[in-house]
């Protein structure tokens, strides 16, 4: 507000001074020029008061006429000059003001200050999203669904205008500004008390690095997620202590390798890390054996590194003639029949179409399918715009960069416990994973479950804390029952309880809770609200523990005491 106000004042200086001067000249003239009486004799000039009154209505072109008495010809001559003079003064002022409103710089100041004010007034926790391209908007949509607020900084003004049309539940502030500039980051709430994290998701690695550095230095307490592609940028980000570096290629290659070596564990991770509320992806079972990798760029290299597993034989097809030592290499694009034959497509179990171009990837995949109909196809999709083509083609396994980054972000931000849970899965055997995946699938009816943390603390779970303090027991089974009807079990699973740094995986219903526990729950979205009520409301918790309905307030209990033994069972 302030800066806009000052800009206006500054630009209005010249027209205002001109107006004051014109008024002064006009009034002064009128107080010097003699008037005329009705009988034609000379009268005294106008007083300052009358002169000011006359000029006020004449200059604004209201024009009441010659007041208080008819003017002398000398006065009329002067008034003619005054009229033109003051009209010029007014038009100049108004035109300057209008030009100011049209001015790009001024409008930018106006939107920036409005944005700043809105950010300052945010009272709920929010995330600062830098870069709202395909990945950014996917993340924002997921955050929106999960009920988090966010502030967007995006370089492209047109993209920001498009964001207005996005159907977000909350009206989140967005500004077209360069996120590399510290001032812009601060304006977007980097040091705001409610800022819960910074996401550097722009397409430009250097920008992401700059954002990460800014965030680390200006507000070291909040987590920073940065997207990176090349190892050098990842390394600099890591040296600055960026909390989470998201490299979509590495992440996808890791998943692909996991899907080959431990499909059940991969399936479980896929269910847990999907974007909540979306449909569960199809089951992926990439085969062992001979694989072709088309395109040996950063993506291809990551995939090759991770897929170098026992029982895997990799052949690289790349036009640049790059020749990694331990891999067989064929020079070509991967769309030519001879090249694919030379690489041994006939005996191959799988192919990775991993060039940086969507159309090449599709044509590689289609050619491979033609030459070897049984081959397992992994297709890399670079742009979200190619969605329709890839959906129609139906590769066995698609790598959509934006999706991988978005999932990773949501995972890291919203449920810190899940990271811990996934880490402990590393030693889990396949049967255990299959059982749990099956349970989760049944619980959420084919959709990706919502995951949330529950902390047994006075702030988040006052009712449970009170009950524990009274010496009562609260078990996992209590929490997972419906507080409207305790016979009904809620569609949710407690995945892990973390107690004093130790993780208890899949605790059973008799597991007793203690103060300070952190619980990871996965289930349908509506369960979350029900669970929250149990944690916070004494009566709901009491009902679940004992089956006794106390659902009455303090006043009702005093006024209408029930006779003993009449408390209805739930």
């Amino acid at each position: 507000m302030n800066s806009v106000f000052f800009v206006v004042l500054r630009r209005m200086r010249a027209p205002l001074i001109l107006l004051i001067v014109f008024y002064a000249i006009a009034i002064l003239g009128l107080t010097l020029i003699p008037g005329v009486n009705a009988d034609g004799t000379r009268a005294a000039p106008m007083s300052f008061f009358h002169a000011f009154y006359f000029i006020s209505y004449t200059a604004t072109t209201i024009g009441f006429g010659e007041i208080p008495t008819a003017f002398s010809d000398a006065q009329r001559l002067w008034v003619t000059v005054c009229i033109y003079m003051t009209v010029i003064g007014w038009s100049y002022s108004i035109l300057t003001l209008l030009a100011l409103l049209q001015d790009k710089a001024f409008q930018h100041t106006l939107t920036a200050s409005r944005f700043e004010r809105r950010v300052r007034r945010i009272r709920t926790p929010f995330y600062l999203v830098c870069g709202c391209g395909e990945t950014g908007s996917l993340v924002c949509r997921a955050l929106d669904v999960l009920g988090y607020d966010f502030v967007i900084l995006e370089k492209d003004p047109q993209r920001v205008e498009e964001l207005d049309l996005e159907d977000f539940k909350t009206n989140d502030p967005a500004l077209a500004a360069d996120a590399r500039v510290s001032a812009n980051l601060l304006m977007a709430g980097l040091r705001h008390g409610q800022c819960r994290g910074v996401l550097a998701l722009t397409n430009d690695e250097e920008t992401n690095l700059a954002i990460a550095i800014n965030a680390r230095l200006l507000n070291p307490d909040i987590p920073v997620l940065a997207r990176a592609r090349s190892p050098t940028v990842s390394a600099s980000m890591a040296s600055f202590g960026t909390h989470h570096i998201i490299n979509a290629y590495e992440r996808f290659a890791e998943y692909l390798a996991l899907a080959v070596s431990a499909p059940e564990r991969y399936r479980l991770i896929e269910i847990l890390t999907g974007l909540p509320g979306t449909e569960l992806p199809a089951v992926h079972r990439p085969p062992h054996g001979r694989w072709l990798i088309c395109g040996y760029g950063q993506f291809g290299q990551s995939v090759a590194r991770y897929l170098t597993l026992p029982g895997m034989h990799l052949t690289v097809i790349d036009p640049s003639g790059i020749d990694p030592e331990e891999l067989d290499t064929v020079r070509g694009n991967g769309t030519e029949i001879e090249v694919l034959h030379a690489a041994g497509i006939a005996g191959a179990q799988g192919i990775v179409a991993g060039t940086p171009d969507d159309i090449s990837n599709l044509s590689i995949a289609m050619m491979a399918k033609k030459l070897n109909p049984d081959i397992y196809i992994v297709a890399r999709q670079v742009q979200a715009a190619s969605d329709l083509l890839f959906e129609t083609f139906r590769a066995d396994f698609s790598m959509v960069q934006t999706r991988v980054v978005a999932q990773e972000c949501i995972l890291r931000l919203t449920t810190p416990l899940l990271t811990r849970f996934l880490a402990s899965l590393r030693d889990a055997d396949e049967d255990w994973c299959r059982t749990l995946a099956g349970r989760l699938e049944d619980t959420c009816a084919g959709r990706v479950p919502d995951l949330w943390d529950v902390a047994i603390t006075p702030a988040a779970a006052p009712a449970v804390m009170e009950s524990l303090a009274d010496g009562e027991t609260v078990t996992i089974g209590t929490l997972l029952r419906d507080n409207a009807d305790r016979e009904v079990r809620l569609p949710a699973i407690v995945l892990m309880v973390e107690r004093q740094g130790h993780a208890h995986l899949l605790p059973d219903d008799d597991f007793r809770l203690q103060a300070g526990d952190a619980i990871l729950v996965g289930g349908r979205r509506d369960v979350r609200a029900i669970c929250k009520l149990t944690l916070r409301n004494d009566n709901a918790l009491h009902y679940l523990q004992t089956g006794e309905d106390k659902r009455r307030g303090w006043v009702a209990q005093r006024l209408f005491p029930r006779r003993d033994g009449q408390a209805p069972a739930g």
Binding site: N2, S3, F6, V7, L9, R10, R11, M12, R13, L16, I17, I20, V21, Y23, A24, I27, L28, T31, S47, F48, F49
Partner: protein, 127 residues
């Protein structure tokens, strides 16, 4: 030499001198206080105020506020004059005149503060 600074200082000092010129004289005698001088003081003060618009520094803000004080005082003096001559019809009695002149005296004080700040600013620049 910065031409803008010259104009700025000119108007501030000019506003103070005109104000002083109107103020000086016996407080209750109309013949010691010229109405054209009051008019000029108001106009020059208003221009000085507008010149101070849009300066975001602390000293600029104080400049603007003292200037606004002077404007208000002088305009009230002019309104009092109008009331005495045109509205109540009592004319410029000693009572009316002394209230007008004392109002302009208040404006003079504000203008003197402006001038002092101008001098302080200049001295600090030289240091």
């Amino acid at each position: 030499m910065n031409f803008e600074k010259v104009v700025f200082a000119f108007f501030i000092v000019f506003a103070a001198t005109l104000n002083f010129g109107f103020f000086i004289g016996d407080i209750d005698r109309p013949e010691h206080h010229n109405i054209y001088e009051l008019f000029a003081a108001i106009v020059v003060n208003m221009i000085a105020t507008v010149l101070k618009f849009g300066d975001r520094t602390q000293i600029g803000a104080v400049h603007l506020s003292t200037s606004l004080v002077a404007d208000i005082q002088l305009i009230i003096a002019a309104v009092a004059w109008t009331m005495a001559v045109h509205v109540t019809g009592t004319g410029l009695t000693p009572e009316a005149m002394s209230s007008i002149v004392s109002l302009s005296g208040g404006a003079l004080l504000a203008n003197i503060i402006s001038v002092i700040m101008l001098i302080v600013e200049t001295v600090m620049m030289r240091r």
